[in-house]
């Protein structure tokens, strides 16, 4: 992790994932929806294992807890889908992100510079681009591009395993 930019005046949407506080740059966010019917996509990487209908468009639904190495969140009355627009492989794509709770749009009070302390953080640090403070709480800003760009590589062994399972069927 490299030193972060000293000053940060961007706005963030803060959300809860697996009991921790995270933030997404507001510029990426398109929509915040209630959880509707989720269609499972068999053989897909687990953390993008679903599809949802976002106002007539089909969007993948991501459970970032699985990506960040956090315990999976429980579906509650507070669970929301944060719809973001990102570029994956050069294609503008809308993606839904499951959030245990959506808090607010805010600026960060302070930005932690230098090494991100490993202590007390449960998530995988490579998916966080900035650590800030908000009302004396640590907020981890998610590196959305990185989360989704390299998304398929670590899942490959699992895919292969599944295709092995597929081949067994019928024999």
């Amino acid at each position: 992790m490299t030193a972060t930019k000293a000053q940060d005046c961007e706005q963030y949407l803060t959300i809860a994932l697996g009991g921790e506080l995270f933030a997404i740059q507001v510029g990426l966010v398109r929509d915040i929806l209630d959880v509707a019917l989720i269609t499972a996509v068999p053989t897909a990487p687990l953390f993008v294992g679903g599809l949802i209908n976002v106002r007539g468009q089909v969007a993948p639904l991501a459970d970032l807890c699985l990506r960040l190495g956090l315990p999976p969140g429980q579906r509650t009355i507070n669970t929301r889908v944060v719809v973001i627009e990102i570029v994956v492989d050069g294609v503008a794509t809308i993606v839904g992100i499951l959030a245990d709770k959506v808090y607010e749009v805010t600026r960060l009070d302070a930005v932690v510079t230098g090494e991100i302390p490993r202590i007390g953080m449960q998530w995988r640090p490579e998916f966080v681009c900035l650590l800030g403070k908000r009302r004396n709480e640590f907020v981890a800003v998610l590196d959305i591009d990185r989360i989704f760009s390299s998304s398929l590589q670590p899942e490959e062994p699992e895919l292969r395993e599944k295709s092995g399972a597929r081949a067994r069927i019928g024999s």
Binding site: P42, V91, I169, G170
Partner: protein, 699 residues
Amino acid sequence: MKDTHMLETQSIFLEELAELIQEIESDLLHLETTPEDRTLVDRLFRNLHTIKGGAGVAGMEPLARYTHAVENMLDMLRTGRLALSQDLASLLLETVDCLKSFQAEATGEAPLDVEKTNRSHHKILGAIGAGGLSQAAAPPAPVESPAPPLPEQAAPPEQTPPLRPETFIVQIYVRRDETPLAEEQEQVEAALRERGDLLAISHEHNLPPEGGGEPDAYYLWRSFHLVASCDRARVEEALGDWRTRHNVEFSTLTLLPESPPNQDAIDAEAAKDAHVVLGELACAPPAALFDSASPDRFQAHSSQKLSSIRVDIGKLDNLVNLVGEMITTEARLDRFQESLELRDTESSVALRNILDDSSRTLRELQDHALNMRMVPIGTVFELMHRLVRDYCRQSGKQARLTVSGQDTEVDKKVCEQISGPLKHLLRNSLDHGLEPPAERLARGKKATGELLLRAYQQFGLILIEVKDDGRGIDVAQVVASARAKGLVAEGVELSEREALELIFAPSVSTAATITEVSGRGVGMDVVKRDIEAMRGAVDVVTEHGKGTSITVSIPLTLAIIDGLLVRVGESYYVVPLSYVEEHLEIPVKDIRSCATNFLDSREELVPLLLLRDLFHIAGEPPITEKIVVVTTGERRVGLVVDQLMGYQQTVIKSLSPLHKGVRCFSGATILGDGRVALILDVLHLIELGQDSAERQRSF
């Protein structure tokens, strides 16, 4: 404000430029095989004029100068002062590359290859010089040519040859509330017309609406293209007090001095072409169209050309999407109506009728919307001629490409995505398929290899065949290569079909030697992946020593399919109807207890895929399960599902790049209740089923 206008002009021009370059390239290639075809030369000449004129208007001076030289060379070709040699043909093809470089620079894709264009420019001037024109090869530097002073009563240019006519471009910018009156305008135009051939272009649409816009801003209102043999002062004089009342900009189209007679009349027409959307191009020599410049002639010409318009592909996509939404909504209405039917018969029937009407109209709308996206595949095929030609010149092999079915229409998206895979396939045929001439003769074949590129329609699919009469694929060698790479274990015997499938595996090569063009074992896997991304398939037939035929099949449209909706547990899937052969009902124990999982259908064992197991769907299967037999004609597989939900039209939404590793599904769709259903990739499932079937047989 000048800049925005310029940008707009430029973007219109750039769109045309791309088309013109493609047409020029294709014409040049045809010209090589039919050098006596006059219409080709004429059209080439015309297209270059159009580029030159457009480049001038769009402010791309270097391009204008360059095309001017090319045009002169073509003129000499046209009038027989130059003969079409191999070298000249190559030179002309080089110009296409240079034009593309200019284009790439203008679109910001790549910087201009200055060295290449300059070299080409010099070569062209050299060729013109060799053709006996009095002008020696002049450097391609901008040549400012101020018009010589002129006596007051200037005669028309035709009668005073020493005086070179010049093309003035006069642009009038006005304030919103100071638009010149109609009679004033007539006066000025008449005065200009006295001085030469005039083309007036209205930019009224540029002006903001009444009361809108900034009051002090100037907007481009008219531009005049004047081909006149007088100096600038005389032209200014014609404008009267407009020069002080409005913002008037003057420019001239710079011409190289060796311009042949009648050049400028042509320039004016070329300039005009740059502003008119290109429809069918007339093939008559431009001079004949433009002997005397009457404004009526322009008008007639323009309106004729406007029979087609250019539409942004994004807008068409939106239209198709909206039609798709309508179809989804209609499905909902249908279902709603059906739930009413039992309760109130009379009004229900009335509603049914209305729905039927709307459904018919909607189908028609859908057909039209999809049709608008269709383009003839010939545009892609044209690119292939160049590829074959260049390859043959480099390699010393001889090949003739025969093309058929160019008029077959395919979705614009298919057209864009198919050219890469087709190039790959052709290159493979040229490199690995066709033998060198000597070897061909030794085998009793003609020295020139035959390549066939054919498109046709069948079963809602577009089939494109790439065929050669070369040496064919040595299946044994493919298997050996795969074994060496560890893709096939020792001792495992492969069927012919499996062995041929290996050429699509990464890093397997059929070539004994690696050449610059192909043979590195990358290629066929990429081809297959690209084709499958379009929901298509690749099929290979080869005969050792006789040749190879590779057929690519792609769905007619990428937007909408007819589907059979099936349910497994809580999940819904769509099976594309074009693959469905039949559906059967079968007691669950018959499937599950049967060790082989084969269905005995029509004296053939059909492998079964239990979607519940395949997709790890929770829950118990019902007492009787349904089997949907899907087929590609030869191969078939039975999909075991819980329930058949019925037929429906389905708008395909492609899966996001996040799901690119998912192979069992070709897309998704939104059902009437808003739920997302996945569309099964039948080709992939058939492959899965067949693989397990073949494994079964080998035991």
